[in-house]
Symmetry: C2
Subunit: 261 residues, 2 copies
Amino acid sequence: MASEADLLLALRMATAAGEAIRPLFRSGIGIEDKDDSTPVTVADRGAEMAMRHLIASAFPDDGIIGEEFGAERTDSKRIWILDPIDGTSSFIAGRPTFGTLIALVQDGWPVLGVIDQPISGERWVGRVGEPTLFNGEGARTRPCATLAQMVMATTSPHQFDADQSEHFMALARKVAHRRIIYGGDCYNYGLLASGHIDLVVEAGLAVHDYAALVPVVEGAGGLICDWNGDPLNAQSDGTVIALGDPARLDDVLEAMGGHDH
Amino acid sequence: MASEADLLLALRMATAAGEAIRPLFRSGIGIEDKDDSTPVTVADRGAEMAMRHLIASAFPDDGIIGEEFGAERTDSKRIWILDPIDGTSSFIAGRPTFGTLIALVQDGWPVLGVIDQPISGERWVGRVGEPTLFNGEGARTRPCATLAQMVMATTSPHQFDADQSEHFMALARKVAHRRIIYGGDCYNYGLLASGHIDLVVEAGLAVHDYAALVPVVEGAGGLICDWNGDPLNAQSDGTVIALGDPARLDDVLEAMGGHDH
């Protein structure tokens, strides 16, 4: 379980990350891949550094895994997993649908997750045993009776390998095309927790991409798992299904035509 | 040329459309395709009706082509082309990247275009002979030296037929994958006008999807054309290339490997 102190720390971390990111959003003219001082790199590093400082001063024994500065004290029972800017390409393109992801993992299980969008000021907070909050108000996923009625989201077709693409397209054929929405990264999982999106299907995610999503989705009444229907953990293969209505899991797995790794 | 009175009318129309749309954003629980009173349908119709009333009272002789209520007085020399919600699937999914599109076409040529995002409060206004404005400030596209450096956007891979998909993928292979961003509809063209996106490539667009984009992109220093490199008009085939740096057009057409209809 995550304590009140853990929650308050996570909220302060999200706020600090946002303060590092906001001034750099839409500030870049001519972003160079190889230049280490691009706005996105500076924002990424500044946000992660700010979050690491807050963890170190509150809980110096906690472990940290961050997208930018790697891992430290990973033998700790408590590990913070940080992705300062999930949705780098959205950030680069000036689209406010990226997010800062913060997870607290205890004994291998994510007990606290934050998805924070610092431009629009939208924040989802999930904590095991508590209802997920969107900007302080309870968030709930919605029921959905059939695949055909689902609003489905995925970030990019390029995240799938050839085999995964076949499974994804088999599913997409069961969903109305005008209800499949691309782009969005972590923001899609927040919208699922709030009952606007019914299904997110992705692949190629790293643990810092999905750890924070688990408490947010589950605390809102949804289900999140890999493409075999198994729970996500640090050893997961990077495939993710998030469902607003857990009763539709078998329909989704069946439509994807089986999957094995 | 669009007059000051035309511009003021277009701005009032965008504001009225936003007032009709905002209360319905994220209001829908369980959206049914066949139900004519879905939030998106109500928002679409309410916004278009509000805009039509404003046109009728200011310029009763002007023609109108709207996505929801069809065409009237299309023999007029001045025709307003309206898409109250471009990006229906974004609206449905609760993502604030859809937009209201307003164009004034004179003698077949779009002389005024508005892209309005009513949730984030972002508005691009293009007028032939004037610099494009973003929320009242001048907007400029940015130069981009090579395809590999481009940030490229497209709404969905499902908009392409098999032949178009091959041309698009040939282009996508020349662009860094993490710089290709999906989703976004008209919002991408606004971000291109503001110098955050370098290239938008789409297909299957209707005249109400692209008429407003032309003055916005061109007035910001960009180029917009079909996949043959020809200017867009009411008879265009629905393929669109928008470029922040017009000097890259030959590179883009070459990378797409030729195109003919």
